[in-house]
Structures are given as C-alpha cells and as structure tokens.
C-alpha cells in the first residue's frame, strides 16, 4: 500500500508552535522516506541514521524559516540534502557534485511526458534488478529519481531540495528514468528467445 504523499493534513502549524506531539507525527511520517533516500545515496546505514537525526534536530530549530507549510516535506529533504552534501564534501572533496554541464546543456531535450511515479510498476522478479539499476545511477541522478519516486515531488520541489535549476532536474530525471528502464529491460531481452 502506498503511504500518503502529496497534499496531506500535516500538523506543521502546531509543530511551529512547539507542540511535541505534532513533531512526533511529522517525524513518523518522514523518517522512513528520509532514511531510505539518504541510505540509497550514501550506502552507509549508520551515517544515514546520523543524518536523519541531524535533519530532525535542525528542523526543530529552524522551523521558523519554513515559509509554506505545504512544502514541509521538500523543506525537510532540503535540510537532509545539505547534510548529505556536507558528508560528501568530507568524504570526496575533489568531486564536484554539480559538475554536470553536459546534462544541463541537454536539459531542453528532456521528455516532459514521463509518467507519474505511481505508474511505474515493477515485477517481483525484477526487484533486485531495480535495486541494482538504482545503485548504478550517479548520485545526482539517484537523488532526483528517488525524490520523484519516494515523495512524488514536482520538478520545482526537487529543484529546491537539491538546489538545482528546474531544467537540470528535468534532465536528470529524464536520464535517470531512461537509464533505469534500459537496465530493467536488459535481462528481459536477454531471456527472450
């Protein structure tokens, strides 16, 4: 069963007022998607748990900076993304997270008719291939496609989370989905007579 995404009645205003029960409800709602996203990006369970904790702590401290309560999810993932980038900088300082110029150049070629995340259905026997295909994507592509799958964020929201322009997000999402499809279809072609 798909958990609730999109426009939900989350107690963001109560959380803003400092109600611990409201925070409990918000954390309960986002803890697993946030962890899954971080874990798929970092492939390090302990670091992912630490970053979830840091994200929650920072969210409680800086809830005042959230302008639109309906975008709480994107705001929370944005904090997690900052933490993730800090971790990446420590781990791989030479790597440029945003150096995807070629991708940006091709942003205009992105297909705008990509189906919604709900429309993607994966067969039981293809699950492991899906995980493997996901792991083979670059972190930038993985970040975008996971946000799309996990929370169904719009391009604009994904752009806010990752700090990338909408065109870049569109391009990354397009190529990530294309790569996933190719990787998922490959074994079927191999098995075909």
């Amino acid at each position: 069963m798909r958990e609730a995404t999109g426009h939900e009645l989350l107690p963001v205003e109560r959380a803003r007022a400092g109600d611990p029960e409201a925070w409990d409800a918000l954390f309960r709602r986002y803890q697993l998607p946030l962890f899954a996203w971080l874990q798929e990006l970092l492939h390090d369970e302990q670091t992912s748990l630490d970053l979830v904790q840091e994200t929650f702590a920072q969210a409680t401290r800086h809830i005042g900076s959230l302008r639109d309560p309906e975008r709480f999810g994107a705001w929370l993932f944005g904090i997690a993304h900052q933490k993730c980038r800090q971790h990446w900088r420590k781990q791989r300082p030479a790597r440029a997270w945003e150096s995807l110029d070629a991708e940006d150049r091709e942003a205009s070629c992105a297909d705008e008719t990509d189906p919604a995340p709900d429309e993607w259905l994966i067969r039981k026997e293809a699950r492991e291939q899906f995980y493997r295909a996901l792991a083979e994507l670059t972190p930038e592509h993985r970040a975008v496609v996971l946000l799309h799958f996990l929370e169904g964020f719009s391009l604009e929201e994904i752009g806010r989370v990752t700090g990338a322009p909408v065109g870049t997000v569109k391009s990354r999402l397009h190529y990530a989905r294309k790569a996933l499809k190719t990787l998922l279809q490959a074994p079927c072609h191999e098995n075909a007579p």
Binding site: R2, E45, L49, Q53, D118, G152
Partner: protein
C-alpha cells in the same frame, strides 16, 4: 507488482526500530524543552509574586489604612459626582455702575491726557494757538541741549 516507492521503503523497513528510537529521542528532547519553558514561565511568575509579597507584607497596616482612607474619600465625594450639576441663574439686570470718586475721575483724566500725548492725539482744545511760539517754546537741536558748565552752574 509494486511501485518503486513501495519497493524502496520495503527495502529499508528493517531500520524502522532505530528510526523510532531517534524519533523518540528527538520528541523527548522537545518535551523537555517545552516543560522547561513552562517551568521557567511559572517560576518567573512565582518570583514576581514573592517579590511583591516581600515588599507589601511589612507595611500591610499602612496599605490597609491607605485603602480605607481612599474608600472614605470616595464615599464622601461620590454624592457630589452623582448629584446633578446646579444650574446657575444668569443675571438679567446689569449691576449698577457706581459713580467714580473725584480723585479717581482726576486720575482717569490725567491718564487719558498722557495717552493722548503719547499717541499724538492731543485734543483740539490743547492744540497750538496761532500766536508765534516764544523763544523758550521753540524746539531745540540736540547740540543746543548740551549742558555747558555755565548753564549747569546757572
């Protein structure tokens, strides 16, 4: 068949107990903060109350006496405030003007003359006559008014 979201979440569901522990820790910290804020607010109020009591208690009879005095004043003044304002009768006849005494009349005439002199409104009766002014009445220059030693001695 499952959606990618379901697959991804299912893959990481094993971490839920640890995530729950993190959530409980965070919420417990928030509860502690909220409780400490409430305690701080309550202690602030209690501090004010204690300070006020400490200042008021030693002079309680004085405060009671002052309060009673004010109540007494209020009780005495209240009928005045509540009573309708008296309507004062306006005099229809002007008070009689008393005749001036001769002394006052002479003083008034002198003042009127002085005023006329100062403003150059000398009445016609005192206007200069046609006869030529004597040497003594002629207005003199400032240089002639200088007091010489001889004139001074004279």
């Amino acid at each position: 068949m499952k959606t990618p979201r379901e697959l991804i979440l299912a893959r990481h569901r094993a971490a839920l107990p640890r995530l729950d522990a993190i959530r409980h820790r965070q919420v417990a910290a928030l509860r502690r903060d909220a409780a400490s804020r409430r305690t701080k607010a309550a202690s602030g109020l209690a501090r004010w109350r204690t300070a006020l009591r400490e200042r008021m208690s030693p002079v309680r009879p004085a405060w009671v006496g002052l309060g009673v005095a004010w109540l007494l004043v209020l009780a005495l003044r209240l009928p005045l405030y509540l009573a309708p304002a008296p309507v004062f009768a306006t005099p229809t006849v002007a008070p009689p003007v008393r005749a001036l005494s001769p002394v006052w009349r002479a003083e008034l005439a002198a003042r009127q003359r002085l005023r006329a002199d100062l403003l150059g409104l000398r009445p016609a009766a005192s206007a200069p006559s046609d006869r030529p002014a004597s040497e003594a009445d002629r207005p003199r220059d400032r240089s002639e008014l200088r007091v010489t030693p001889r004139a001074f001695l004279a």
